[in-house]
Symmetry: D2
C-alpha cells in the first residue's frame, strides 16, 4: 500500500480522504472505532475568528480551512449521504466582566483591521435583538464562524475516504514499527504486520508513545475537555454564544445545546468530574438564564492533544523521512481538519505547501507558550 | 380472583406480597413495567427518625415499618434471591446554618425523649471522626435509620408475591370500572376485562384520575423529585448524610453516591431540570467537598404522590366498600411500604388495624398542611 | 383555543402542523414525549406501491400522501432544520418462494395497469445488477417508493407546528372529557382542565379507551411490531428490500440497516420477544447473506393501531360533531401522515375532502377483513 | 513500590488482592476501567467439572480454585460489600445429539472415577424433574459447578485489594519498559514513569505486544466470545444448562439468562456479529423452548486470551526474572482467578508452588493443541 495512517480520528480521516481522492492506496488503522476521543467529544465550532486574536502562525491555516469547508462538506454529502450539521448562523463572542470586555475589544480590533467583513461589534441592545435569551451588559463581537457536528464530520471524512477506495481497519492497534536498513517499512499491529511506503501517525494525545519508538520526543500532554448537553422545547439560541473566558453554548439539531468545556491537563481519563458539570451548568445559566429550566441530557469527556508551545506537530520525521506525524491540534482539530488533509497530502507527495510550516515542524525549538483561552 | 391491585410500584407490590402470603388469589396490573416512577427513583432511605420530628400521625406506622424490615428483607431474599442493598450504617442529620442548627436540636430533643437509644448528638469533632469527608461546624444528630436499594426492594416485593402465587400483568392499563347494582365488580383494561372481589388502587401520583371515575375526589398532586449519582475510586461515606434543609447523600454499592432531591410540585414530566442538577451538585460539594472530584454518573427523576395535608390516603371507598385506595406516601413510600402491605391486608380481611387510621381516611376533612422538609 | 389534539405521534403532529399553518390556535397533548410508540418504531417506508396490490379504499390517499411528501419535507426542513432522512432510491419487492412469485406477479400487474411509470419488473440478473448483495432467484418488482427516518419526520411535524404557533404539552394525560349541554367542551388532564372548540383524538392503539368515554366503540386492537438494526463497514444496500412475505430491510444513514417487522396482535408490551429477533435475523441473512457478518446493534418494539377491517378511523364522532377520531393506520401511519393532516384539517374546517371517506367513518358497518401482508 | 501489576482484569486484580493481603505495596495499572474485556463479558461459570474431561494439567488448579472460592468470596464481601452473585445450584451438562451423548458419557466416567460425589448421571426424566423447561432426550450429567457474576467478582477483587492498601491507576497505559543494567526497573506509562521491584503483566489478549518489548514471543491470539441475555417474568432455570457442544444458558439475578458463547478467533473487535446472535438464540430456543417467548435484552462481546497449546502462561520471564507474565486463561479465567492470585503471589515471594507449573512456563516447548469444546 502507498500510505498507512495510524489513527481514525478526524485528522487521520481527513488525510485519508484527501489522499484517496488523489488516487493513493490508503489504509487507516484505528485501535477502537472511528471518531472516538477528541473527534467525537468536540462541540464542532469552526472558530477561526473566535479562537484567534493575534497574528498566530496557525491563523492562515485556520482561515484557509474555514474557507474550504463548504466545498468539502458538499463533496462528503454527495459521497456518503452523511449529514454533518453544517450551521452558519455565526457566533457571538461575549464579555461577561469588564476585564473580558477590554480583551474582547482588542480581539475585535484585530479582526476589524484584517477581515472587517467577517466581524461586527454589537451593542448590548443589538445582542438582545439577535439572541433575546442571552444576558449581556458589555456588548459582543459577532463573527461569521460556522459550526458542525464534529463526530458526524469525522465519520464522513472516513466514509468519504472509503468511497474513494481507502480501507479502514478498526480494533487494530499498532504497537511497534518494522525497520529495514535504517528505514521504517511497516508496523506491527494486533491484526498482524502491515507494510507501507509512507506512514502517517495521527493518534491525537496518544501520539508521543508511538513517536518514542522512533526516538522522537514530542513535547505534548493530554487535556481532558468535558461537555454537557441540555435540550429545550423551543430553540433558545440561533448563534453559538462563546464567552471570552472560554465557556461556550452551541445550538445543535433538535433543540439541543452543547455547553463546554473544561480543560483538565495531564488526564487520559474519559470520566467527567462532578465539579465540571456543576461549573459548566452554573456558567451557562448565568449567560443564558433560560437554560436553568432546560432538560439536562448528559455529560461526556474527550482527550485533546496539546503541545508545550501550543502549535500542532505537522511534518516529517527528522530521520525516517517517509514517516509523518500530525497531531497537537488541541481545541482546533475540527476547524483545521480540512486544511490539514490537504497539507499533509501535499507533503507526502513532496509538493510545495502554501503555508509556512516551520512553526509546526517536529524538530522546532520551542520557546513559546501554549494557547490560552 | 380475590384481589386485584392496580399499580405495580412498591406500595402495590408490598400489598400483593402480604396478601399472597395470606393465601389470597392476587393479580397486580401495571401500566408499564414494575417499579417505575417514584419506586425506582427513590434514594431508599428508611428515615423514620430523620424524616419526622413531631408527633405526626404517620410516626407509629413509620417506626413499625422500620422495625419490620429486617424480617421482611430476609424473607424476600429467601424467596427471590434478589439483593436489596440493606445498609444499617445509620444517618447523620446535619445542620449547615445556625437556623438549621436550632431546628436540628429540637429535632434531636424530640427523639431523645421517646427513643434515646436510636439517636445520638454528635459534636463537630465526633462527626469528623465518623465521616472525615463531611464538612460540618454545627454538630449533627446520628440516627439508626437504614437504607436500601429502592428499585430492587420494590422488584423483590413483586417477585416475592409471584413466588407466593400472585400474578403480575405488565403493560396493562386500567381505564374504567365495571359496575353491577351499585357495586364495583371489575375493571376494564387494555388487556380486556377483569373481575375481582376486591380492588386496591395504588397508582401513586396517577391515582386521582382513576379515583374520579368512582366519584372520589382526592386532594393530591405530583411532586417531581430529581436525583444525581456520582462514583468514586474509594468510599467517601459510610453513613447517609442528610442536611436539615433536605439535601441528602446516600452511599450505595460499588462506591456510588446518590444525591437528592429536588421537589417540583405539579409536574408529571420525568425530565430533569438543568438547574436542579446544578443545585444538587453545588449543595453536595458544599457538604462533602471531595465530591467535587468524583465522577459524575447520571441524573433522573421520579414523580411522587403528595396530598394536600401531607397524609397518605389509606382506606376503603366511602360508597364502594370493596374498593381501597392506597397512595400519597410522598417521600416516605419506601419506608412505609412494609407496614402498608400489612395494614391494607388487614383492612381487606376486615381485621382490626393496630394504628389510628382516621387521619388517612379517604373522606377526612383536611385542615392540616403538607409535610415540609 | 381552536383545536386540541390528543396524541403527539406522527398523526397528531401532522394534523397540528397543517392546522397551525392555516392559522388555527392549536394545542397538542401528549402523555409522554413526542413521537414515541409506533411513530418512532417504524422503519419509515413510504410504500404506496409495495404495500397495496388491489383497489383498496386507502390507495388514493396513499398515492396522494406519497406525492405530497417532497414539498412537505422541504417545508419542514426550512422551518425546523430537522433532517428527516429522505431517501428515494426506491424499493425491491422480492419473491422468495414460488408461491410468493405468483402473488408478486399479480402485484406487479396491478401497478403496471395503473402506474406503469412507477414500477418495473426485474429479472434475477437485473436484481443482481442493482443490489449485488441480494440473493434472488425469482425476479422482483422495483417501485419508486421512498423512505424516511420515521421518528425524525414525526418530531419535525411537531416542531413545524410549534414554529407556526402551536403548543405542545408533554407528560400530560387526558383521562376524561368535560360535557356541557350534551356537547364536549374540553378535557380533564393531569395538568388540569383544558377547553377547546374542537378536539381531535389521535392516540394510536390507545384511542379506544378514550373513545369509550364518549360512548364510541371502536373495533381496534394493538399489534406489536418488532425491529432489529445492524451496521456494516460499507453499504450493503441502496434500495429498500422488501420480501413479499413481509420481511423488509431498510438502508439508513451511517450504514445502518433496519430489519422488520414482526406482528404480534393484542399486545401493548414494548418488550421484544427473543424468537422475533432470531426469526428476523435468520430471514434477513437468507435474503442478504452478507448481513451474517454485519454488527448487531439493537432491537425494539412499537405498538401499532390496527382495526378489525383494516381501515383507519378518520371522521367526526356521530353524536359529538366537534370531536374527531383519527387512528388505525397500522403499518401505513408514516406513509399516510402527510395526507391525513390535510384531510383532517379540511374536515375540521367543514371543507370538502377530495376522497371518499365513507370507508373510514367511525360508524361504518364492518364486513371486511384486516389487511394482511 | 514492591509490585506493579499491568492489567486491571480479574487476573491482575486477584493477584493484587492476594499480594496486598500479604502486606506488599501494590499498584495496578489499567489502560481503561477495571474489569473490562473478557472479565466483564464472561458468563461467570466456575466449571471445573463441566469444562474438563481429561487429565489436563490445569485440572488441579481448577479444582483448587473452585474449592477456594467460598472463603475468598466471604472475605471480599466483608471487605467491599460487593455482591458477586454466588450461585451453587450446579450445572446440567447436556447431550443434544447421539455423538454428544457418547462424549458426555466418557466425560461422566472420567469424573465418576475421581470425584464421584461431585457428579451424577441423570436420565431424561430426572433432568425433567430438575429443570422442567429443558428439552432433553439423552440424559445429562449433573455437576456441582457454581457460577458468579464475573464482572462483580472482578471488581470485588480490585476493591478488596484497595481495601488492603493497593492502589489502582485507571486510564493509564504502559507503552514501554525501563531497563537498567540488563534489568527491568520500571515502566513508561501515559501517566509518567513508574518504578517497581517486580512487575506482573496480566493484560489478557493484549499481553503479547507488551511481552515483545521484552523480547518474549508468546504464542497467543485473541478469541472473541459473544453472549446475549434475555429476561423472563418467572424463573425458567435454577441450574446452569451447558450443552456438550459449547452452548450454555446461565441463570442470573432478576430472572435474567445469559446465553453464550461464540468463539471467533483472531479478532480484537468488540462488535457482535449478527449471525452469532441468530445462532445463539436458535440454539437456546432448541434447548429451552420457553426462551422463545422471553424478552430479548442485549448482546455483547469480550476478547479472551487463547494460547496455541491451550495452556495459560504463568511464570517468570526467562531473562528478566523480576518480570512475570500471567495470561492465556481463555474460557477459564474466572474459574482460575482465585488460585492464580495465590500461585503468582507465591512465585513472587519465591515460595514453593504446590502445583506442577512447567506446562505453563513462558519457555515451554509447545506440541499440544488448544483446548476445544
Amino acid at each position: 500500500m502507498d500510505v498507512l495512517i495510524v489513527g481514525g480520528g478526524i485528522i487521520g480521516s481527513s488525510i485519508a480522504f484527501e489522499l484517496a481522492k488523489r488516487g493513493a492506496s490508503v489504509v487507516v488503522i484505528e485501535r477502537g472505532e472511528l471518531a472516538q476521543e477528541a473527534s467525537s467529544a468536540a462541540a464542532g465550532m469552526l472558530g477561526a475568528h473566535s479562537e484567534f486574536s493575534t497574528d498566530h502562525p496557525l491563523l492562515p491555516l485556520a482561515l484557509a480551512s474555514q474557507a474550504a469547508f463548504p466545498a468539502v462538506i458538499a463533496e462528503l454529502r454527495e459521497l456518503t449521504n452523511i449529514e454533518v450539521g453544517w450551521n452558519e448562523a455565526g457566533m457571538l463572542k461575549l464579555a461577561t466582566t469588564m476585564e473580558e470586555y477590554e480583551k474582547l475589544t482588542e480581539h475585535y480590533e484585530f479582526w476589524r483591521r484584517i477581515q472587517p467583513q467577517h466581524v461586527r461589534w454589537l451593542t448590548s441592545k443589538e445582542v438582545a435583538d439577535i439572541e433575546r435569551n442571552v444576558r449581556n451588559e458589555y456588548g459582543a463581537m459577532y463573527t461569521i464562524d460556522q459550526q458542525v457536528n464534529a463526530k458526524q464530520l469525522s465519520v464522513a471524512f472516513a466514509h468519504g475516504a472509503m468511497a474513494k477506495g481507502a480501507r479502514v481497519l478498526p480494533y487494530t492497534e499498532v504497537y511497534d514499527f518494522i525497520f529495514e536498513r535504517e528505514r521504517v517499512v511497516g508496523v506491527k499491529t494486533t491484526s498482524g504486520t502491515l507494510y507501507a511506503e509512507r506512514i502517517v501517525i495521527a493518534c491525537g494525545a496518544w501520539t508521543p508513545m508511538l513517536a518514542e519508538k522512533l526516538r522522537l520526543s514530542l513535547h505534548m500532554y493530554p487535556v481532558k475537555g468535558e461537555c454537557v448537553s441540555v435540550t429545550t422545547e423551543t430553540p433558545l439560541l440561533q448563534t453559538t454564544v462563546f464567552a471570552k473566558n472560554g465557556c461556550y453554548i452551541v445550538p445543535k439539531a433538535n433543540n439541543r445545546l452543547i455547553i463546554g468545556a473544561s480543560a483538565i491537563a495531564h488526564s487520559f481519563a474519559k470520566t467527567v468530574q462532578t465539579c465540571s458539570v456543576q461549573h459548566l451548568l452554573a456558567r451557562a445559566m448565568q449567560i443564558v438564564p433560560a437554560i436553568a429550566h432546560s432538560t439536562f441530557e448528559k455529560a461526556w469527556a474527550g482527550i485533546r492533544p496539546q503541545t508545550k508551545d501550543g502549535m500542532p506537530y505537522i511534518g516529517a520525521h527528522p530521520q525516517y523521512e517517509n514517516v509523518f506525524v500530525v497531531t497537537g491540534h488541541y481545541r482546533n482539530g475540527i476547524l483545521l481538519s480540512a486544511i490539514t488533509g490537504t497539507i499533509v497530502s501535499d507533503m507526502l507527495e513532496r509538493k510545495d505547501v502554501p503555508f509556512d510550516m516551520t512553526p509546526f515542524s517536529l524538530t522546532r525549538k520551542e520557546e513559546g507558550h501554549a494557547l490560552h483561552h
